[in-house]
Symmetry: C3
Subunit: 345 residues, 3 copies
């Protein structure tokens, strides 16, 4: 995967908006690595002060450091946020420039489907009638784009993805392999002992800069839309049910799930295997910890844990006692015995 690229320290400093404080600006750098893994010729970075020892020992030829760290053993570039600089460096050394592959002759394209400029539609892609594919969109093999769905510019649809009919995908969206967008919501009405399917006639709207993980499922609305707002990142194997509204810039870790008609604010974090039950409102900046569930409305800024959900602090304190439950039970029984003894006197 690695590209053979070289860049001078001056170039790098410019690209990551940093200041070169030691060393020669024309020194050539050929890659980026962690402090421990970096080899001569590579640049590394100090993401946190707890790695200062690794910084001292690194074999990198240059490092990116925070503005407030003094270090003069190696050429160093000072920046506000070295971890952000690291992600920029990965782009610099690894991004492959986009080249349009066109529409492969083995792609199936429905009637009235439209394409922007410079698309890359691989063989064995299915694009339905009236679908609308933006500029520089890449669609990998075995991806299904349903009738009338829209894929915004610069988005990437990986292999084996399904985007059902009538969904709107924004710009710069990445949908990983096996994800399903717009499957029917799980809606039935039970009548005379049978579960009758409620037609799911709504859609899905995925806004700009969203990323959706592998094998994640996002159901269409019953009526109206399931919405993932801009900048939100969703990991693998996550369930987003019908008519859910997810705010902006949320981060949902793998195997979490949100039940029908619930809403989240912005910057919500769901840890792995956590959940939100149906019909609740989760505020802005809420954190739901791993394997916990938001079982009622959660106010802005709260961190909740457990099932049912409680303030994380309370959960931590209660769990600290939990393992001692048998001891407490024994003490209570002992107290009762001693109490009866005293009362007898």
């Amino acid at each position: 995967m690695k590209q053979n690229r070289e860049m001078t320290l001056d170039e790098i400093a410019t690209r990551i908006s940093g200041e070169l404080i030691n060393g020669r600006g024309d020194a050539l750098i050929s890659g980026v690595s962690g402090l421990k893994e970096a080899k001569a010729g590579e640049i590394s970075f100090l993401a946190h002060r707890r790695y200062l020892k690794d910084l001292e020992a690194t074999s990198a030829s240059a490092v990116v450091i925070p503005n407030d760290v003094a270090f003069d053993r190696l050429p160093a570039i000072r920046v506000v946020n070295p971890y952000f600089a690291f992600s920029q460096l990965l782009h610099l050394f690894h991004d492959i420039p986009y080249t349009a592959g066109g529409i492969d002759e083995n792609a199936i394209v429905g009637s009235n489907a439209s394409f922007g400029q410079d698309v890359s539609i691989y063989p064995y892609v299915y694009i339905g009638n009236n679908a609308c594919i933006g500029d520089r969109v890449t669609i990998y093999p075995f991806a299904f784009i349903g009738n009338g769905s829209i894929i915004g510019s610069n988005s990437v649809i990986h292999s084996n993805v399904t985007v059902r009919e009538g969904c709107r995908i924004g710009e710069r969206v990445i949908i990983h392999s096996g994800a399903v967008i717009g499957s029917d919501g799980f809606g039935y009405v039970t009548h005379q002992g049978m579960h009758h399917k409620i037609p799911q006639v709504g859609g899905v709207i995925i806004e700009d800069d969203v990323e959706i993980g592998a094998n994640t499922t996002i159901d269409r609305g019953t009526m109206g839309n399931t919405i993932i707002s801009r900048g939100t990142k969703i990991d693998n194997l996550i369930q987003v049910a019908h008519n859910v509204f997810v705010g902006e810039h949320c981060l949902f870790a793998a195997q979490s799930g949100i039940a029908g008609s619930s809403k989240t604010g912005n910057y919500v974090i769901m840890a792995g295997q956590s959940g939100v039950v149906d019909h609740v409102n989760v505020g802005n900046n809420v954190i739901i910890t791993a394997q916990s569930a938001a079982t009622k409305d959660i106010r802005d800024g709260e961190t909740v844990s457990g099932m049912p959900s409680m303030p994380h602090r309370n959960w931590l304190k209660a769990m600290a006692v939990f393992e001692d439950l048998p001891g407490i039970k024994k003490k209570v029984a002992e107290l009762e015995r001693r109490m009866a003894e005293i009362e007898d006197k």
Copy 2:
């Protein structure tokens, strides 16, 4: 998605077996919506008395109401179950009549595969040898139907579905995108430090009127079959292990799972992220609440929670105390102190 259809109130009343109590039977209706969303020309419905205020304020041109609600501001149709009527109305206004697409020339059809009448086999479908596809079956692109598998009439197989060899799918079954039916069960025998695969030579039987969600996995039996009985609805990202038997008319919410060889009765409800451990029997009408697990046999009609499972009522009461554990611990310590003081006297 919305169709441009119009129907008179008389027609609608007939189709949903209701009685028009106000207004003119020849008034035209063009769609169905929720009480808050409905616009002039649309019909809405009162699913529950708690929405009576929305009923008073709705902009709909007509409403469906339960038999025991009085309302005369708008034309109204009285029915036994307005929520069921709502699902019927969605069908009336949104169903697209089935038209057979035939077998696309880009579908791969194995030797001796057979087809009923009026099928719709999309391009890039793979159908194995000796497979048997019923009347009016729709199979979307990138679906794989293994050798000898049977798909009953009027079933729909969405894109990227895998139905492995030797599986039997009933009539009017819907399998959503990315679901996998008939993958190998997770069976090994450990011998001399190696896990040796136990060949999984059984199959999967999915009965009539079952619906299976996106990216759900249903493993084949080791010997014998994994069975999903008629009328059961299974949501997204659910695991059904080998040799599981699921009864009729169950509802399993997303990310729940059933381990090997367990059995459920009829009308079992599994909430989101819940589980059933292996080799247990879950009775009829059991409810397993969210993130809980049935860890032993569960009797008919029980609602269980927690892990290990306990009666839901007990779990609720225990969880109501759980958050107070630190307080209880403190009280016990205090009681011990006071007790010692008294005993000293």
Copy 3:
């Protein structure tokens, strides 16, 4: 699926390294079944003494028994491990000999892709540039093999699998339908209110004899590799995050998940819906029970339960008291009342 094969008891005894103790060696056997299900002409097996009653009642024509069980009603073959013999018998009666299907003309093969001998590449397979496919590899329809990826000899890639670019799959590996190998890790750096994607430039290494379940996702490393060591078996719908290292001969049950950069030793068992949080080390021979999570480093040989994780024994004892929490609370309140009464005197 069942093959029409017949074998003599002598032949069978040789193949499963057992000793025939009753009956004629030339008696013909036509299949293998459980003790209860077996019919005349079939051979069955006693996996555990608790099934001795079934052994007495079986209609099988012969049985496989452990060395230390006496039984003379039927022809019997004595072996060290009858359950292992059972898996061997399933292979004997059900395995279909491999026949190479070649490379179908409807498979897409990238430039410089290479193939070993006797491969079976189905129609509608996509193989990227410079991919390397070993001897006798089978790849089913709608599988995507990315640029430069390697599939070792005798491996099977089922339908709708994605193996992204730059991944290395060992020999005798089975990847079930819908699994995704090499999807991007979930890595972002938040800068000025936006989550910026950290390019995931590492890969995935899956060693020999690994099996990966349906719709499981294994993310590529950010830098370096996500590694699944030899002999490990992973069930359906499991998440393995970026830069995870999984040891040898582990067994992970369905819907479990391991967060980023965590490591497991060898012979680790994760039960259903369990988890490992990020950046922890799980020792050898550890068991993580169902719906539990390893929230810190776990020492060799420990069984842990709960969330946060604790020794399984402690968790069992605490859970045995949990349901009685309301009773304990009541007793404590009662004790306080009685104590105050005594103190008043």
